[in-house]
């Protein structure tokens, strides 16, 4: 269960957003560029600090400036698939997925074994040895999804998971995402500029504009 009251300023953007997402729920944030969608995810992941407000995941406070609480990103049980995928170009798909496990202290072989399973679960088992440059958009997004899910997060963040894909890849990936989200026990927040994608994947949709919920 994610409970968040986000207040933060970043350049032109003034973000003021209340979110509550239960376990198994998928909340979609929909809005135009610059509405604060990605900023919201970065704050939830801990890449940005709140100016005020509070983020709590399963009762554990992750960020609350008023009390001086800030849990750094590496200590949050959060998995994220980034806009533009951001797969590390110098690592194979397998090592990309194993990265978060190794960062948490798991040995290389154990991490790779679990990464292999995670790749297989998203239908990307055959891509383990490939570098990101040799992956199509849809393949890269599957690897990015596996990289987020392998950490068994309590909160899954998906930033434009279906953007920049051709129609065929997009539909296949949409089905795959729906399957994965149905089997995911934690809370999910996904961001999209496309209302149809949001409707297909989310249990609830919030339209935001200029950092606030549009009523």
């Amino acid at each position: 269960m994610l409970e968040a009251r986000l207040e933060l300023s970043l350049g032109e953007l003034e973000l003021r957003l209340d979110l509550s997402v239960g376990a198994g729920e998928v909340l979609a944030l929909v809005g135009p560029n610059g509405a604060g969608k990605t900023t919201t995810l970065r704050a939830l992941a801990g890449a940005l600090r709140l100016d005020a407000g509070r983020i709590a995941l399963d009762g554990r406070v992750l960020d609350e400036p008023a009390r001086g609480t800030f849990v750094p990103p590496e200590a949050r049980a959060v998995g994220m698939a980034f806009q533009d995928r951001l797969l590390f170009p110098h690592l194979t798909a397998l090592d990309n997925v194993a990265f978060g496990l190794e960062a948490r202290g798991l040995g290389r072989l154990a991490a790779q074994a679990r990464a292999r399973e995670a790749l297989a679960r998203v239908g990307a088992g055959g891509l383990a040895g490939r570098r990101p440059a040799a992956l199509s958009g849809g393949q890269a997004q599957r690897v990015a999804l596996a990289r987020a899910l392998v950490l068994a997060p309590r909160l899954l963040l998906l930033d434009e998971p279906l953007a920049a894909l051709d129609t065929l890849a997009r539909e296949a990936l949409r089905d795959e995402l729906r399957r994965q989200l149905a089997g995911f026990a934690g809370a999910t927040v996904l961001v999209s500029h496309d209302a149809d994608d949001a409707k297909a994947l989310a249990t609830r949709t919030l339209h935001i504009e200029a950092g606030r919920v549009e009523s």
Binding site: R42, A45, G46, A47, P72, P73, E74, V78, G79, M80, F82, D84, L86, F88, P89, H90, F99, G100, E102, A103, R104, R147, L151
Partner: protein, 257 residues
């Protein structure tokens, strides 16, 4: 391709000749039959060995201290950053002999830090360590400039992604930032090493020219020119070959396609 106007062609050829003719002369007039004798002499062998030790040490020091400095300049916005960058780059344009004088005034027996170093029993001027220090002073900027450019080319979102995936800053540095910057670091190290190997002015000023201790290859060339010109030419050829090798190693970055 456009046809070159004659107005440009002539000075362009003069420029090419200005650099090309001396290099050709060095190769043509080299005492090829005498080469192995000239290089086998004690003086040449000592200078060559010392030069390798000093220039590799200077490159290692530059990597150890220069890479963190380059990262700081590229990624952290602190007051005085531009000033620090200008200061670090200065040795690239400073006459090396001035660098040598400055080193004496800092680390010499009566220099700013000379007393403190002396109390610790450390003497730098006119020692091999001093030669290494002089080479580092001159060559470090080449590494810092290349490494900073390399770090700047990395999309900072990769480092953010690493953190969100669970990497502590040290892990992200080792597994993401440094590997992504590796080509730039290699180029910077090659450039830095080539500059250190050719260092003359700062070294002779700060460390002197003691055979076997501080007389590196360029100093040996200069001194040998008087009493054994063949050896001087032979040693010059060695430095030329090394420089060409460094340039070839850097061809992707410098010579373009």
């Amino acid at each position: 391709m456009s046809r070159a106007p004659r107005l440009l062609l002539v000075p362009a050829l003069v420029a090419a000749g200005l650099i090309g003719v001396p290099l050709v002369a060095l190769v043509v007039r080299a005492p090829w039959p005498e080469l192995s004798r000239a290089l086998a002499g004690d003086e040449a062998r000592n200078a060559l060995g010392l030069s390798l030790v000093c220039s590799l040490s200077a490159t290692a020091l530059s990597l150890v201290f220069g890479v963190p400095l380059a990262w700081l300049l590229a990624r952290v916005d602190f007051p005085g950053r531009r000033l620090l960058r200008a200061l670090v780059t200065l040795p690239m344009v400073l006459p090396p002999v001035v660098g040598g004088v400055a080193l004496l005034l800092a680390f010499g027996r009566r220099g700013l830090l000379g007393g403190a170093l002396g109390a610790l029993g450390i003497q730098l001027p006119f020692t091999t360590a001093g030669a290494v220090l002089a080479e580092t002073f001159v060559a470090l900027p080449f590494l810092v400039v290349a490494a900073e450019a390399g770090f700047r080319q990395i999309d900072p979102r990769f480092e953010e992604a690493a953190a969100v995936l669970g990497a502590k800053p040290g892990f992200a540095l080792r597994r993401v930032t440094l590997p992504l910057a590796a080509p730039a670091l290699r180029a910077g190290a090659a450039l830095c090493w080539a500059r250190a190997l050719g260092e003359f002015g700062a070294t002779i000023t700060f460390a002197g020219s003691f055979p076997g201790r501080t007389q590196t290859l360029p100093l040996a060339v200069y001194l040998a020119l008087e009493h054994d010109p063949d050896a001087a030419i032979a040693l010059s050829l060695v430095l030329l070959v090394v420089s060409v090798a460094a340039l070839v190693a850097l061809r992707d970055r410098w010579l373009g396609a």
